[in-house]
């Protein structure tokens, strides 16, 4: 029986200055799924690995299951799907773990049925998966995981998505400290009102970031990653944040901030060697305060999910 194996990437939402509107995909880590035709209708999750037993095997509660179910319902496909989910990245880290699973699932299902939909059309189903995982159908992780590169979500109603390919020499260091931030804490520290002055500085940076990406101006990208609104609040939840960020910048990163709602940090660099040096410096800074941290170094992923044979 035919089976399709798909990898979908981790993603960095917010990108410092662009809270809730921008995210990008990395080459690794990411999640892998294997889908096969099933004799039963709907989705049957046969295996989950790498989650430490934390993820539900009920497809209606599982982010990959939900995204495939939404796809089957919308396309009117009655054939069922067997799903294996292989988590290859940390959960609850701010690296878009649930988005990677949702995207891998729906992308694989679409391929299994010979691509009835365009990749871009799969976004609403992946967003349904995100809704199960996070409580709201945010697109700032699923859109870059599905479409690759940087993706701007200009608006949700109507959904207005703008793809911004990453410049060739942009590398990302992700560092995940082994601490837990409860999502409700990450949300609660955000203020409902912000100073107009901070907002102006923030949208100046958002404009600079987009211009830097579209013109391959790495200096401008780096100067623009600064976050005046969210990082000052959320960084308080990450022990050693200031020291780790300073270590990244000293090691040659062009910009560094919190990945999504954390606790992972991302740093951008313009050479692979630099991004490795940055990873070591950030891990060492966490080690100084006795926090173990895992690092991933990769290029920006400009193409989204991959079918693996």
């Amino acid at each position: 029986m035919e089976s399709i194996r798909v990898f979908a990437p981790a993603t960095v939402a917010n990108v410092g200055c662009a809270f809730d509107v921008l995210g990008f995909a990395v080459a690794q880590p990411g999640d892998e799924v294997l889908v096969q035709l099933s004799d039963s209708p709907g989705v049957t999750i046969t295996t989950i690995t790498g989650d430490g037993g934390r993820l539900p095997t009920d497809p209606r509660k599982n982010t990959a299951g939900v995204s495939i179910l939404a796809f089957l319902a919308a396309t009117g496909i009655r054939q069922g799907v067997l799903l294996e989910l292989h988590k290859q990245m940390p959960l609850g880290s701010g690296l878009g773990s649930s988005a990677a699973s949702a995207v891998a699932g729906v992308f694989a299902a679409n391929a299994l049925f010979n691509d009835p939909l365009e990749t871009r059309e799969l976004l609403p189903f992946a967003m349904e998966g995100e809704r199960i995982a996070c409580g709201s159908a945010h697109a700032d992780n699923v859109a870059p995981a599905l479409l690759g590169g940087f993706v701007l979500i200009r608006s949700y109603a109507p959904l207005d998505i703008v793809c911004i390919p990453a410049p060739d020499e942009l590398y990302c260091t992700l560092v995940h400290p082994f601490i837990e931030i409860r999502t409700e804490d990450a949300r609660r520290v955000l203020k409902k009102y912000i100073p107009l002055k901070s907002a102006v500085a923030q949208w100046g940076n958002v404009a600079g970031l987009v211009a830097g990406l579209l013109r391959t101006d790495y200096g401008l990208i780096g100067r623009s990653v600064q976050d005046h609104v969210v990082e000052p609040e959320r960084s308080l939840l990450i022990p050693g944040f200031a020291q780790v960020k300073a270590a990244a910048m000293r090691a040659g990163a062009i910009g560094c901030s919190i990945s999504g709602s954390g606790p992972a940090l991302f740093a951008l660099s313009t050479h692979f060697e630099t991004s490795q040096t940055v990873a070591e410096a950030m891990q060492a800074a966490f080690a100084d305060i006795k926090i173990e941290a895992r690092a991933f170094v990769s290029k920006i992923n400009n193409h989204g999910p991959e079918i693996r044979r």
Copy 2:
């Protein structure tokens, strides 16, 4: 004795969504200056026309005079300058009148002394002229008046300026209703704190506007011009604002908002004929409530000031 005549353009600051960080220049209207070498040191203003007697002839209180004085001081030039200022656009309209004069003055003086500085290096002096006129050295009018196209002021400290040329087919309609808004009123209506939710929508639009400009995506430019933060407050000071904007959009504009702090409105269109139709529709909407309004229709100015013989 050698003389140099220079035109510098009107400008639209804020561009809807990008309050305080973005502006663009238009082909017309604008101000004209004539400078000549003088036997006296400093700046002597010999003539001002088109201002209805409102502008000071003391060069230390005149925006064009101040910008030239700052240039002379910085370059160590001891020779004096005679200055004629011909206002060809309305004062206090939100069209960057003081910026046009400051830029025309300093650009002409630099040309008169055989360009000791690059055009970009003249910005701080034009900002000094703006400080005399407005009380603060804002760059969102002077930078596009000097450099042409759209200009992002990503930050002031340090000054970080990003030029974004306008797409070829972008036309601007400017409509100036003959009402007066006091600058202090325009400032007072702004709230010091804004909802995070509005700020997020705003920086999504700022990102969309920059991406639309750099990729010549007129639909995206139009969708992104929407202002969730300033227009809702300041438009209350402009009688008929909602009707005039609606008339612009019905007539085919892709976006419309307040120019600078108003009372002028700008509308963007993708054809010259459309921008003329938009002008008539906006004037008619003002006429409906018995407000006379003058309209200007032109391309975006992508080059800044011009030397005229």
